[in-house]
Symmetry: C2
Subunit: 199 residues, 2 copies
């Protein structure tokens, strides 16, 4: 016999599938939902459906949008000669939050991984090359996560983009602002030494 | 300008309301949902609605049920002379999981709290008294959380139930099984000494 009644058990199982939610959190959430009004429940489940129905991928950069083209690609005030390459659509908000970048984006949707059989065609690199050619892009800023796949994807991009006469840059590696030398790992400190700048 | 498009922002806000989910987890969940199929999304949101529509409170013990009376109150093989008092419907599963209890339950739905103006009538104590009288209950096992409100509610229950000729017991306090003396707090060890049993 199951511990909970069927509809409760079902919902706990659905919530357990979400990232970062284990059996205890799922149970806690479901019993919280049980106490909400029917209106609140309708709002939550409606928001889930609505998001799934409304959200599309921008036909230019593959960012999230409710239209055909996202608000960034449509924004005439942005620097249309720069493209920032990110892995996921969620990374766009991280860069936007800094307020330091006013160019366009291109979302790869993944990273190169020979082991998982993910090559350039699987991660929207052909579309990127087309944009660079068609729009005379001057600089591509690679903003991928600094892990093995990120670095090798960045290396691949450099190799194919440099011959096209594009400037290829990447986010600086170094100490986090407000960080402490003592707590930084050697690789990061090593990078910070190599990438040192004039005071 | 919001960081995310509206439908994504809305859903992040809905998830942030759930217990144990902060802004980062909410964002992570929403971007995870974006990658799910329409079918999976329909299943999740359907399960939420279904649970809310189907789950009712047992008219006897106030436990969760999809019928009028829950499977425990309907179960003829259980000991119908014992009632275990718990705070929340979710506590029933915790007791059931032990396999040590075969009696009935009564869910208070809260604890006495003079500060928050919660008196006996607010937490289904009248219904409990009625059950005890009508069904000739012999023992009431108080399984409330061992905190201030739990202990004072237990004290109140003892005061009104003893004159009714009912045996009133509570869960033993003591060292957790597999626990370590060194890591137990003094109050728990103190209780374990007072409640010591023959070896």
């Amino acid at each position: 016999m199951a511990l909970y009644i069927k509809s409760v058990e079902n919902l706990i199982n659905e919530f357990k599938k979400l990232p970062g939610i284990g059996p205890k959190s799922a149970k806690r959430i479901v019993f919280f939902l049980l106490k909400l009004s029917h209106d609140d429940i309708a709002k939550l489940s409606g928001s889930i459906i609505e998001m799934k129905e409304k959200v599309k991928f921008c036909s230019i950069c593959y960012g999230l949008t409710e239209d055909d083209i996202c608000h960034i690609c449509r924004d005439g005030s942005r620097d249309r000669k720069k493209i920032c390459i990110v892995e996921e659509a969620s990374d766009v908000a991280i860069i936007e939050k800094t307020g330091e970048y006013r160019g366009l984006y291109h979302i790869l949707g993944g990273l190169l991984s020979p082991i998982e059989n993910i090559g350039p065609d699987e991660i929207r690199i052909p579309g990127l090359l087309e944009r660079i050619r068609a729009d005379n892009i001057e600089e591509v800023i690679v903003a991928l996560n600094p892990n093995v796949e990120g670095e090798s994807t960045a290396g691949y991009l450099k190799k194919i983009l440099l011959p096209m006469g594009v400037r290829v840059t990447k986010l600086a590696s170094g100490l986090p602002v407000g960080g402490d030398l003592e707590y930084a790992d050697e690789v990061t400190i090593g990078r910070a030494i190599c990438d040192r700048r004039e005071l």
